[in-house]
């Protein structure tokens, strides 16, 4: 259809003033917000967790298989394995030849995606609902019998090294983000990039890959999440048929415990890749599984999310001392960090931006956020939260991730309310508790 051959001029609006009465908007907390998401969950004999969520609005079904493995499971010297395996999962298994997985899905009119992060690897596909069995067949084949040969490992290594080169050569500030991660997460497991270190990737052997696959790509280290238009009885039958006989894995090692972070550093970046000076600021905050995480998430929205957030207004719109601003809470299993990155047109502006950020953080430690501002942050958050299950694909991934987060799925319907019921006082308490030891990395241009 029309993807706008010519004129698709989209313009974001930028605000200029701070003050506004928003008395019309209902305050939160008056009505409990529960998630209406039907869920059935059970475990197969081999430990594979199954989650089914029915939705009959369209004849579409999404399947996500999430493995509880990411770059934090890689040992020193063996980095890049998780990402490499993501690629190999498309290079063929006993009954599916190379790249056939993709073409099978595309031929149905379906769509697919795969992601590897620090702590999980997710394969997701959406197809017309009458093709569910095809996806189960494909996913079970690569869980059961991935072809790991010298040829395809070599090819995947080459592709990965090429990607490392490409990203280093084209992504501005790439090196500075990696350096900042090393400061924030001094253990190699937590601090190394998901795409791996080039030297390690070069040295990976077929045996390394086979071991990693045999250890982590097992039914008892995975969750199969299906959302959409499903005939539950038939789906359960097919799931048993394709997955139940896959052998469970043994002794899945846990990732190492994280260590405290370093404090401060400066890197001098090459101008071509760091067009402007800037800085990273980070705080190690409460575990994503703790009660403190809810107010922390709302703080992220007050400071950073949206064109009317405090830092965006202060740094970009009003004073224009920053040229770019980004940041969010980042989760790596039990660890969470609050990260901000700013670039400015010169070092003096960067210093001023940094002072503004610290001053805003201090304000949140001492003054209450207004009802309107808190309400706004929660409403933007709520929209983002709801968008996590806007499509069957989103839903399948949302449920798989929720399962991997180790919170019980029974509590999922109340999760949204936990965020929306955060009050003003808890924000101050949380700011004082977690925003004390900042880790800073300055980016200066050579």
């Amino acid at each position: 259809m029309n993807k706008g051959l010519i004129s698709k001029n989209r313009l974001l609006i930028l605000g200029l003033f701070l003050f506004l009465l928003l008395g019309d908007f209902p305050a939160h907390g008056q009505e409990k917000q529960r998630l209406s998401l039907p869920i059935n969950q059970y475990k197969l004999g081999n430990g594979l967790q199954v989650i089914l969520s029915e939705d009959y609005s369209l004849p579409v079904v999404s399947v996500a298989v999430a493995y509880n493995v990411g770059s934090i499971n890689e040992r020193p010297g063996k980095t890049g394995l998780a990402y490499l395996l993501e690629n190999l999962m498309f290079q063929g298994s006993q009954n599916v030849s190379r790249m056939q997985h993709i073409s099978f899905i595309h031929r149905t009119g379906g769509d697919l995606n795969a992601t590897t992060t620090e702590d999980k690897t997710i394969f997701q596909q959406t197809v017309p609902s009458h093709q569910l069995a095809l996806v189960l067949w494909l996913e079970s084949d690569r869980m059961k019998s991935l072809e790991i040969t010298a040829a395809n490992v070599e090819q995947a290594k080459e592709a990965l090294i090429e990607e490392i080169h490409h990203r280093k050569a084209t992504e501005p500030y790439f090196e500075s983000f990696l350096t900042f991660d090393k400061l924030l997460y001094p253990n190699v497991a937590y601090g190394h990039p998901v795409i791996g270190n080039e030297a390690d990737v070069r040295d990976l052997t077929v045996e390394d890959v086979k071991d990693f696959y045999a250890t982590f790509y097992t039914p008892n280290n995975a969750v199969l999440s299906i959302a959409g238009n499903i005939d539950k009885t038939k789906a359960e039958q097919d799931i048993r048929k394709y997955f139940e006989t896959i052998q469970m894995g043994q002794n899945i090692p846990l990732p190492p415990s994280p260590t405290p972070s370093d404090k401060e550093a400066t890197i001098i970046a090459k101008e071509s890749l760091a067009p402007l000076p800037g800085f990273h600021i980070g705080y190690r905050i409460a575990s994503p599984y703790s009660q403190d995480f809810y107010p922390l998430k709302i703080i992220e929205y007050i400071l950073l999310r949206g064109l009317t957030s405090r830092l965006y207004k202060k740094l970009i719109i009003r004073s224009r001392i920053a040229r770019s601003l980004s940041g969010s809470i980042e989760k790596r299993k039990e660890l969470a960090t609050f990260k901000i990155f700013v670039s400015s047109s010169n070092e003096m502006m960067a210093e001023r931006s940094k002072r503004v950020i610290f001053s805003e953080i201090n304000k949140l430690k001492s003054s209450l956020v207004s009802e309107e501002e808190l309400g706004k942050a929660k409403n933007i958050f709520k929209m983002d939260y709801l968008n996590q299950y806007a499509t069957s694909a989103d839903k399948s991934v949302f449920l798989a991730e929720a399962f991997l987060s180790k919170k019980s799925l029974d509590h999922l319907p109340d999760e949204l309310e936990n965020y929306l019921s955060v009050d003003h006082y808890s924000l101050i308490r949380i700011m004082r508790r977690y925003f004390t030891n900042e880790i800073v990395l300055d980016v200066k241009i050579k």
Partner: protein, 487 residues
């Protein structure tokens, strides 16, 4: 992708299976050996799109969907860039952009605060035929959202200071886009295909923005921003009665006025191939956009063409991708598209290739197109393409926003139920013979070809073309390169 390894694999696999004979890997269950048969195709129930009209002529269409406490609202104004004044392209875009930049009693930043306070996302799109205001918000704020939207539609202030702000933002935005090879190529293709037609106005560059002033915008607004020239599309857990009641409450005072819609002249396709180059210093790849006007494409011809496009370049398993990327290794991608406009369609191929194979890539694309006009596409391939289109259709309307966008496009371009409730049926009916007829009927082999890349790298690789027209990114012809002549 590395083709070499695939060849090796086919040799290795039989050897491997001999070696593994009797191992547990091969003693697998029978059902694992081949893909399962699909179940019967599930029924797709699509809601009827039948706008109701308020007394002032404002149309309201509702698609009731539950599942998310969110509403997507699209306000369509049936005027895009094409009715902008000839000497003032960009008028429609700037007018649309100004509506959220200040209304009676609300400044631009106050509007922004309200949008975010309802958990909202707001954006504006201007196409050649229509403009759309897209607003998605939490359903409990329907009144606040409609109130704000009515202020934007009925009481925009068009303050000079804000106009200057937006002009500056648009200027830099377009200026930045000059670095984006896809944008540059697509715009140039549009300039050439829509030459001297009202649609050409939507291919404007950053230099024309300074020519626009307050009076132009107010006059454009006054002519076209009228209830009888507008349609609301709401998607969410809301029924038609409620929607009508709420929309009336905020929009019944919007005064109707008959706006002139001069009929658009027909568009002539190119009858001779034309090769163009735009220099983009530093670009590592060659970006190719190649296409022609397919006009008028209506009625019986549309769906065979949709299937033709699918076979040729609709997806990663289509002919162009398989040939240019998987087989020849020329391209990073190669797809084709069929874009609908009120007055025509544009059929085009887009590919990003290694610069040294620019010429053979274009030749290969033309060969693939020619093949479709010379040989009937085998039925299994047609069936495959149809099954993709049918399977993919519901995926395209999964989010409220995408669903409303699809409806908006159908309504704004007058595509009708053929593209909605009858879509499955229309695709199912397409035969190999019909696709062959269509392929021969339309001028697919005389396209405009736009190449965007670094001239210093590319010029060595396009010398085989008889004549190459070199344009700058403003669309002005700089010079031509003739075969055998120095630049």
């Amino acid at each position: 992708m590395n083709k070499g390894n695939r060849i090796k694999l086919t040799v290795i696999l039989p050897l491997l299976s001999l070696f593994l004979w009797g191992s547990p890997l091969l003693s697998q269950e029978r059902f694992r050996k081949s893909p399962p048969y699909p179940e019967p195709l599930a029924e797709l129930k699509l809601p009827e799109i039948k706008p109701s009209f308020l007394t002032n002529g404002l149309g309201v269409a509702v698609i009731q969907r539950d599942g998310l406490p969110v509403i997507s609202l699209k306000v369509i104004i049936f005027a895009g860039e094409s009715p902008s004044l000839k000497e003032l392209p960009g008028m429609a875009t700037l007018t649309a952009n100004m509506l959220s930049r200040g209304v009676s009693y609300l400044t631009a930043s106050q509007i922004e605060e309200i949008i975010e306070s309802v958990g909202g996302n707001f954006s504006t799109y201007t196409y050649p035929d229509y403009s759309v205001f897209s607003f998605t918000f939490l359903e409990e704020f329907l009144d606040n959202a409609l109130d704000l939207m009515s202020k934007m539609m009925l009481q925009p202030t068009f303050l000079r200071r804000e106009i200057e702000n937006i002009k500056r933002i648009m200027y830099y935005d377009l200026h930045e886009k000059n670095k984006d090879p896809e944008f540059v190529a697509e715009r140039q293709l549009g300039r050439l295909l829509f030459r001297n037609h009202p649609y050409e106005k939507s291919t404007f560059n950053e230099d024309v923005i300074k020519n626009l002033n307050q009076a132009d915008l107010v006059s454009f607004y006054d002519r076209y921003y009228r209830p009888n020239n507008s349609l609301f599309v709401l998607t969410g857990n809301i029924n038609l009665q409620t929607a009508i009641r709420k929309v009336s409450r905020y929009f019944s005072t919007w005064r109707r006025k008959e706006s002139e819609h001069p009929s658009l002249p027909p568009l002539e396709p190119y009858d001779k191939e034309k090769i163009c180059l735009i220099d983009l210093p530093g670009a590592k790849d060659a970006t190719i956009y190649l296409g022609n006007i397919v006009s008028p494409l209506r009625g019986q011809d549309v769906f065979p063409f949709v299937v033709l496009n699918q076979v040729l370049g609709g997806t990663h398993t289509s002919r162009l991708f398989m040939n240019l990327r998987e087989s020849k290794g020329y391209a990073y991608y190669a797809f084709s598209e069929l874009d609908f406009f009120k007055n025509c369609c544009v059929f085009f191929v887009k590919a990003k290739v290694r610069p040294e194979v620019t010429y053979p890539s274009i030749m290969e694309i033309l060969r693939e197109i020619e093949k479709i006009t010379k040989e009937k596409i085998p039925s299994p391939e047609i069936e495959q393409a149809k099954s993709y289109l049918i399977g993919n259709f519901p995926l395209q309307i999964q989010t409220f926003d995408k669903l409303s966008s699809r409806i908006s496009e159908i309504e704004a371009l007058g595509l009708g139920e053929e593209h909605w409730s009858k879509y499955y049926e229309n695709i199912m009916l397409v035969s190999s013979e019909r696709v062959f007829e269509i392929a021969r009927k339309y001028p697919l082999l005389t396209p405009v070809v736009v190449i965007v890349g670094d001239r210093n790298i590319i010029s060595d690789h396009i010398q085989e073309f008889e004549e190459v027209f070199v344009y700058n990114n403003k669309g002005i012809l700089q010079y031509t390169i003739k075969k055998g002549e120095d630049e």
